[in-house]
């Protein structure tokens, strides 16, 4: 039986439906994972030997978290909401007047300068992780606030934005080379010295 015409045309109208079905399947099953978080450096396992550093007590800002999530800051109970301001006041103090950019109270009984100021964080084994992260967040936030202030003064832009751009692999190399010394400079103005002691067992 000879065909009258050529092969009949396949109706492609449902192609879109099939494609939509696939699209929706992928939309539902995949997650665009945006991994972000607090970057921290752990101290090396073996402390450098033959260095016997004496740190003055006034240069250490102690933060203790107990098992109920209560804070003991510099031997006083503190609400977690005030932690950032207290940390900023400590870091920005500039007690020995060697720090020209500090705007703190220049209290002789608090830290000498940001170079020497150390925040020591201690937590209990029973402390909840979420409380710990909140405290970490506030302490990192204190550093970021101060660094932003200096970056605004020196370069007219935020440090966090500059650092984010610098770390982003999509940023062009020319811009990164431009940002690198600036980011480094700000980091040196307020070096992040956040020490984590080993967890107390009781």
């Amino acid at each position: 039986m000879p065909r009258r015409k050529g092969a009949p045309e396949v109706n492609a109208g449902s192609m879109a439906d099939i494609a939509f079905l696939l699209l929706i399947f992928f939309l539902v099953t995949t997650t665009i994972e945006t991994d972000a978080g607090l970057d921290r450096m752990l101290p090396p396992a073996e402390p450098p030997e033959d260095v016997d550093v004496v740190i003055k007590q006034k240069n250490i800002f102690t933060v203790n978290i107990n098992r109920n999530g209560q804070l003991l800051v510099e031997e006083e109970i503190m609400d977690i909401k005030n932690l950032r301001a207290a940390a900023i006041a400590f870091l920005d103090n500039g007690g020995d007047a060697s720090c020209s950019y500090c705007k703190g109270r220049k209290d002789a009984s608090s830290s000498d300068n940001p170079e020497k100021a150390i925040i020591s964080l201690k937590n209990d084994r029973e402390t909840k992780y979420s409380t710990y992260i909140t405290v970490q967040n506030e302490l990192v936030g204190a550093y970021n606030d101060l660094r932003n202030r200096e970056a605004q003064r020196l370069y007219g832009r935020d440090f966090t934005e500059m650092e984010g751009k610098f770390l982003n692999p999509e940023t062009g190399s020319a811009e990164r080379d431009d940002l690198k010394p600036k980011v480094k400079k700000i980091q040196e103005l307020f070096p992040q010295k956040l020490s984590e002691a080993e967890t107390s067992a009781n």
Binding site: A16, M41, L42, R125, K128, S130
Partner: protein, 160 residues
């Protein structure tokens, strides 16, 4: 003005939908390429805490993941409700973290081995004791760069 009124009834041309599949396929391929399939299924509950001062984790190939949390409901009868560590696709004890990190590190290309980050995806209800143990393990194998993976948000929401 009269120019526009001339249109006749039967003159409306049908919009061709022939290119619709192409457009949809384009979308499809876009999503297929930008999204990542989860490489390991979660055996633990993993509600991350919130934080505002976060940094993005760039370059997935430089990250080693450690999950911590209570076992999910179907595993609770076997593993209990205490927070556990998940490495790759199975539960692990604290002592296995070090060797896991070393094994993962050995799998990466030579030039990346020194710039690896350990991403800790820890459930907000976990206790710090376990985390401290993991941190000690990481220090032992010199994996010092840690990222506490969090959601973006107000950190004070964690306290409720």
């Amino acid at each position: 003005m009269a120019k526009f009124a001339k249109k006749k009834d039967g003159d409306l041309p049908a919009v061709s939908t022939a290119s619709l599949p192409d457009i949809v396929f384009m979308l499809l391929f876009f999503f297929m390429t930008v999204t990542t399939m989860k490489d390991s299924s979660l055996l633990v509950q993993n509600t991350l805490p919130n934080a505002s001062e976060i940094k993005k984790l760039e370059k997935k190939d430089r990250v080693i993941y450690i999950y911590v949390g209570k076992p999910t409901r179907e595993y609770q009868s076997v593993y209990g409700t205490e927070p556990k560590i998940q490495l790759n696709d199975k539960f692990a004890s604290v002592g296995e973290v070090g060797s896991y990190i070393l094994a993962e590190r050995a799998k990466k290309p030579q030039e990346l081995q020194n710039v690896l980050t350990t991403a800790m995806k820890v459930d907000k209800d976990a206790n710090m004791g376990l985390i401290s143990d993991i941190k000690q393990e990481l220090r032992q194998v010199n994996a010092l760069k840690v990222n506490y993976t969090t959601y973006e948000g107000d950190a004070f929401n964690n306290l409720q």
